[in-house]
Symmetry: C2
Subunit: 513 residues, 2 copies
């Protein structure tokens, strides 16, 4: 608030809670105080990740003048550093080529469950109904997808396969919706995020969007009378700049995984873990909008990835510090990761036997070696400092049913069920790994993640205030906004809803006057 | 925002997200538009629960004119319907009379762990250091405490004992801090909240505070130039009223357990469960402040109480749907409740044997009868639809160690360790109970709770905006603010920090000009 506030709270102020406020002030700038605008455009997009690129492309294609501000040296953001998976379905050409039937309803049923509980049903419905069109939009922007399926559990295939399973064939989801793989990957044999961004940025520029890099947005400029957002105050190389947006400002600044203060205030579960980001996800867009009374949703929701090899977890078992299993190991890895880190006592252990370990192709072991190898479970319990009998009772129950191809506790696919017999090995997923595998950022605690909560927006990206009314002239998309997610997360849904709703926000912003 | 906003978001607006917005608009009122103030005072307190009463008392005692607005027909709020426990320690007369040594440091060590992770260290430090003085403050307000200890695990003693354990003697807390009971209860043999409120309201009125009941605050009045809060817009019996506060407004409106929309946006875990509240915890104070750019903290944090009898849980074992134990059953009941509801697959079962059940005094069974009684664990597993062997392996491990007075998994106090032998019984904590026991509101899902997140305030109650600066003229305390809690909760800390920081906010508000 205004300096007049400084005196109001006895002993209050920036240091009032003892924790020095390190986040930049985001005090709105009254338009009446702006004497000169350094640049004027129709639609001002703040942040050049996938949501910003999608918004810029659609706004420019709709005929609006578009300028994108990016605090880094160039476009990309966390999107460019991601795996590049796109969660798409409903019957895409790639799904058909791989022999899979799919529909928007089956896709919706799966995501409502896997992204739940409490997924945003209206946004999710639109996302699924528009998925085949959204796939074609990527193809039209120049992305190609190999019509082949990677059929093994993993974080990231080491091939160019264009399609992968993301938990659709695991219980209970295989009973909730007809399983069909929906993890789409553009043709690259490594992380594909950079390629997605290369194509989307080229498309946005071809449509006429211009970019100001090294430009950090610091506050929103607001019309004194109407409360309408009419521009952005920014900083480039130490110089203060003021931008005017004739039609609207679109905030696509990303989440707040890199803002320790916001994590402490809203998502403390991520504190101390690795971050899946470009290091610049400071939540500034969320804060700039909240300074105007904007509403947020689900700020505590996070995605967490454990550095555990799905190939290893699936063939063995994942247990908590007490040697208890807690989930079927063949779910999408993000789900067993979140279940472990948010609900189970650490350390977590991947228990596997020699036969299981040897059955993993060398290249898919990503250099991970068993930390503890023993002949008996009793010895392993001792090494892992578990009470005698803890692991043995778990393995005994597991083996008894596995011998019959059953897992009455968590219903792991019989494909992965086999009685485990010595010698046994334990792998500590917290140890992280360094070859090939995301999320190497997790090395240390073994977990890395990012935030899913953000600004409360309509399906067209209009930012809503706490009274439920749109903040005039302000839109948001990507992780700066609350998207389709509930408490769950599936790979490809972040680039997915970031681009899908980024496009809608760009169109609405271009038409918003 | 202003009506001008309505047109900005194409297809946006109140219904823009599909979920009709039912929460009242809280659009701030520019002071320049106020033609007439119906009443003028120095400090305007909004909400007459324990925090409002404490703030009103201290502000009036400091010489300020104080007016309290309460939407209900009279004072009380959720505080009056609570159990009335006050978490106090550091060496109170009651603790000494019961033969316990205590210190602010030991109290801090326990609460930092039990209210954690991520408790607010600065607020907690002040709370513990000022605890004996705060106890005396209650005594001086007319509350009496019997110098006797209730030594059994329970939600609520059925006696007038003035002191009770609230988990201090359970592992791991008994190793983190020297155990001392700190649950203080004023002399009443039922829920004591009404008595606490009776005394605090009488004290506030004696100090000169006046009350306007049936008066619903709907928005804050703000000075156009300085952004300072100078009053409140309200409604009484359909009539719109405007109040002016010369010095400050103190928001003590409670949490948002009764606002389904806010729960969906911020604390979805509580959706569908019972609410521990007076039915009026609508979060309106939080929203009114956020409309001015106020910051919030930990909005997803909730307290949840499972309708399970501690006397029964402690003597038996608490297991999840897979028959797994997950916590030492002798912790403060709120901790096993939160652990169950937020981290374990339902249904949860209390497993107890005949000897254990019979050892519970009739009056302490609160009419709860075993739902399932069987001679063997195999039969019980079948009745509870657990995989054969699930419960048997858990009980076998439990018994093996219990015979030696050990619980290497969760370290339950040997006092409660005894091998369980048939006949066995299972009690479904979700069934709820109706005699004597809080939280009867949980009957149905068996769980009931309230919200712990709220406005970001300084230790003096000044409401901070998202830039870390105080919103001039605005204070908050009680569950409308984020208090001393992290992800954990202990009974008595809500009336405790509500009154402790309510007092500080009242003093600061009286001095704030």
């Amino acid at each position: 608030m205004s300096p007049a506030g400084a005196g109001a709270g006895a002993g209050a102020g920036a240091g009032g809670t003892g924790r020095a406020r390190t986040s930049r002030p985001v005090t709105p700038v009254p338009a009446s105080t702006v004497e000169h605008y350094d640049a004027v455009t129709d639609v001002l997009v703040v942040g050049y990740g996938c949501a910003g690129a999608a918004a810029a492309y659609e706004a420019a294609t709709a005929g609006a003048g578009v300028l994108v501000l990016e605090r880094a040296g160039g476009p990309g953001g966390s999107s460019a550093q991601s795996g590049g998976e796109l969660y798409l379905g409903g019957g895409t050409p790639v799904q058909h080529a791989c022999g899979f039937e799919d529909s928007a309803d089956e896709m919706y049923a799966y995501l409502a469950a896997a992204l739940g509980p409490h997924a945003d049903e209206e946004k999710l419905r639109l996302y699924c109904d528009g998925s085949t069109e959204h796939f074609q939009w990527f193809v039209d922007r120049g992305l190609t997808f190999e019509p082949t399926l990677w059929d093994q559990p993993t974080w990231m295939p080491t091939t160019k396969d264009g399609l992968m399973w993301l938990g659709e064939n695991a219980w209970p989801y295989n009973e909730i919706a007809r399983p069909a793989p929906r993890g789409h990957r553009c043709a690259t044999d490594a992380f594909g995020g950079w390629l997605v961004m290369e194509k989307l940025v080229a498309a946005a520029e071809a449509a006429g969007a211009t970019t100001h890099a090294d430009t950090l947005a610091t506050a929103l400029v607001v019309d004194d009378d109407t409360g309408r957002v009419v521009g952005v105050r920014a900083r480039r190389h130490g110089r203060e700049l003021t931008y005017r947006a004739r039609r609207a400002v679109v905030l696509t600044t990303g989440g707040f995984a890199d803002n320790e203060e916001m994590l402490a205030d809203h998502a403390p579960h991520l504190i101390g873990h690795g971050k899946v980001s470009d290091g610049l996800d400071d939540g500034s867009g969320i804060r700039m909008a909240c300074a105007l009374g904007a509403a947020t949703r689900r700020m505590a929701t996070v995605e967490i990835a454990l550095t555990a090899l799905p190939a290893m977890v699936t063939r063995g078992m994942l247990v908590n510090a007490h040697g208890q299993r807690f989930i079927n190991e063949d779910v999408y890895p993000g789900l067993f990761s979140v279940a472990a880190v948010l609900t189970q006592p650490a350390p977590y252990w991947v228990i596997i036997d020699e036969e299981g370990y040897e059955s993993i192709p060398e290249k898919d072991r990503w250099g991970v070696l068993p930390l503890h190898v023993t002949g008996t479970l009793a010895e392993l319990e001792a090494e892992l400092r578990m009470p005698a009998g803890a692991l043995e009772s778990t393995v005994t129950a597991y083996n008894t049913y596995a011998a019959r191809g059953q897992d009455p506790f968590f219903h792991k696919d019989p494909r992965w069920l086999r009685p485990l017999k010595g010698p046994f090995a334990a792998v500590d997923p917290r140890a992280g790994f360094h070859q090939g595998g995301r999320p190497s950022a997790g090395a240390g605690t073994g977990a890395a993640g990012f935030t899913l909560g953000g600004l409360h927006t309509t399906v067209d990206g209009a930012v809503l205030d706490v009274s439920g009314e749109p903040v005039p002239g302000l839109y948001a998309a990507g992780r700066a906004a609350a998207g389709i997610h509930g408490e769950g997360y599936i790979s490809g849904t972040s680039l997915g809803d970031g681009t899908f709703f980024g496009r809608r926000a760009g169109k609405a912003a271009a038409g918003g006057a």
